[in-house]
Amino acid sequence: MTESGKEHPAVETGPPPARGRLVGTFLKYSPLLLLALLWEGVVQLGLVSRDLLPSLSEVLKAAWNLAREGDLWQNGLSSAYRGAAGLALAIVVGGSLGIAMAWWRPVDAFMGPLVEALYPLPKSALIPVTVLWLGFGDGSKILLIFLGCMIPVTIGAYNGARSCEQALVWSARSLGASRLRVLRDVVVPSALPELLNGIRTALALTFVLLVSSELIVSRSGLGYLIGFLGEGGIYDAMFAVVLVVAFMGFFADRLYQLFVRRVLAWRE
């Protein structure tokens, strides 16, 4: 419940000084630091068995070792390749498809039903079928991510292109621009915010699909590594990889948001 009085006018104040912002960010995230200390404390004090919960220091050491021994990089690269390839394909194909559907009615009529029917389908349900088609290797993961992420990207591109103001299109046409140029110079830029939002959803979905499929049906990759370490009883390393993957997802989202802000600011 905030005290946002209607009568209270805007206060003349600038952004807080840089040092203030840093302190502010630290205070904001400090509960996580407390959580980390709590974790370490609980295990060191013997309140929780080390078999169930390796201490934070052990996990960090295991992470360091994995990185040193190359397991982390090898599997990380494998996962990164699959994720990037699948997402890139989804963006290119999905983005073009969405804009094409918004721009040319026959494409909409043809592809519309397919997109609509696939939208409510939970994408992870496609894991077994991609394995059926392409086995346990990279191909099935890339296909899975491509199919899964295409939907949010297509819908984002479609809605974005549709929302482009008619007035803008008409004024561009009246100035003599060809349909294709209008598409490139007017429709695509105004579709950008929604398209970028769709890609953000797809990015999170990429991580989920990647981890899910690698946990279940893979012989390499970070998801596979987690399962492998778990089955081998090497729990400190397992926890380490879980955290690495989880934080990769978090940082990817944050970096993406920064990227989006740059792109949209540049466009203004």
Partner: protein, 267 residues
């Protein structure tokens, strides 16, 4: 004919506002002084208007009397006791009605009565009485989203009146209504006031509305809000043609010139 009789023996003031200042602290940024050293006394059964430009703190003052904001500097006493929290003795009516959208009109009006712990039949009886009083008979089972603006405000009034508060605190209650409904509601409010004889503190930025309804108009300065002037209105409120009388126009002009300076400052 109900007029403030200045010849009567001095009445014990019902609301005493003494040197109140208030700082508004937004979530981000510096604090702003909304009210500065405001003092005001309001007698029982008086109809007082708080008038001023946007941002002058008139609503803030109302909220302080209502107990919704804490009094940090100065004091506010209602019937001798300092204001500590909101309560049914000081009924509030908001500009945007604040009806509970998930309750019917009847359920809304009964809410305060439930809180008072009255017996069920008594609740029903009183609620129906006030629904009839504000002219909403037949709409008891309607939801707020099915009502027009004027009807919503009547429902809000009924809800507040049902708990029989000592006074009504009204925050630009007709500001969200169209001109015709507003005019209608103004005459109805006057009639209601004359009938129920409650104290009314009425916040508005509309000079004509203030002159039409109030016995005294408190003109406030631009932010930080101070009491600029208190103008008594000695006009016959029961006159149906009051709006067109020269005395009315003269009063409006008098007050408007006071407000105008402040309105320009607030720009």
């Amino acid at each position: 004919m109900f007029m403030f009789d200045s010849r009567a023996a001095p009445v014990k003031q019902q609301i005493v506002i003494d040197s109140v200042s208030h700082r508004y602290r937004p979530a981000r940024g510096r604090a702003v002084l909304a009210l500065e050293d405001v003092s005001l006394e309001i007698a029982p059964q008086e109809f007082v208007a708080l008038l001023g430009p946007s941002g002058c703190g008139k609503s803030t003052l109302l909220y302080l009397v209502g107990g919704f904001l804490p009094v940090e500097k100065g004091s506010i006493r209602v019937e001798g006791a300092p204001v500590a929290a909101p309560g049914p003795d000081r009924g509030i009516v908001f500009q945007h009605f604040a009806l509970f959208p998930w309750k019917t009109v009847r359920a809304n009006v009964r809410y305060g009565l439930e809180k008072m712990g009255l017996a069920r039949e008594e609740q029903e009886r009183r609620a129906q009485g006030y629904i009839d009083l504000v002219g909403l008979k037949g709409f008891e089972e309607s939801f707020p989203s099915q009502l027009s603006g004027g009807m919503k405000q009547r429902a809000a009034l009924a809800r507040t009146l049902a708990v029989e508060p000592k006074m009504l605190l009204m925050d630009e209650p007709f500001g969200a209504l169209d001109a015709q409904t507003r005019s209608l509601m103004q005459s109805e409010l006057l009639a209601l006031w004359q009938k129920t004889q409650k104290t009314v503190v009425f916040v508005t930025h509309d000079v004509q509305e203030a002159v039409l309804l109030a016995q005294r108009v408190v003109v406030m300065s631009a932010r930080p809000g101070r009491v600029k002037a208190i103008v008594p209105i000695e006009l016959d409120k029961t006159d149906p043609h009051l709006f067109r009388s020269p005395a009315f126009a003269a009063k409006v002009d008098e007050i408007w010139s006071l407000v105008r300076e402040e309105a320009l400052k607030a720009q």
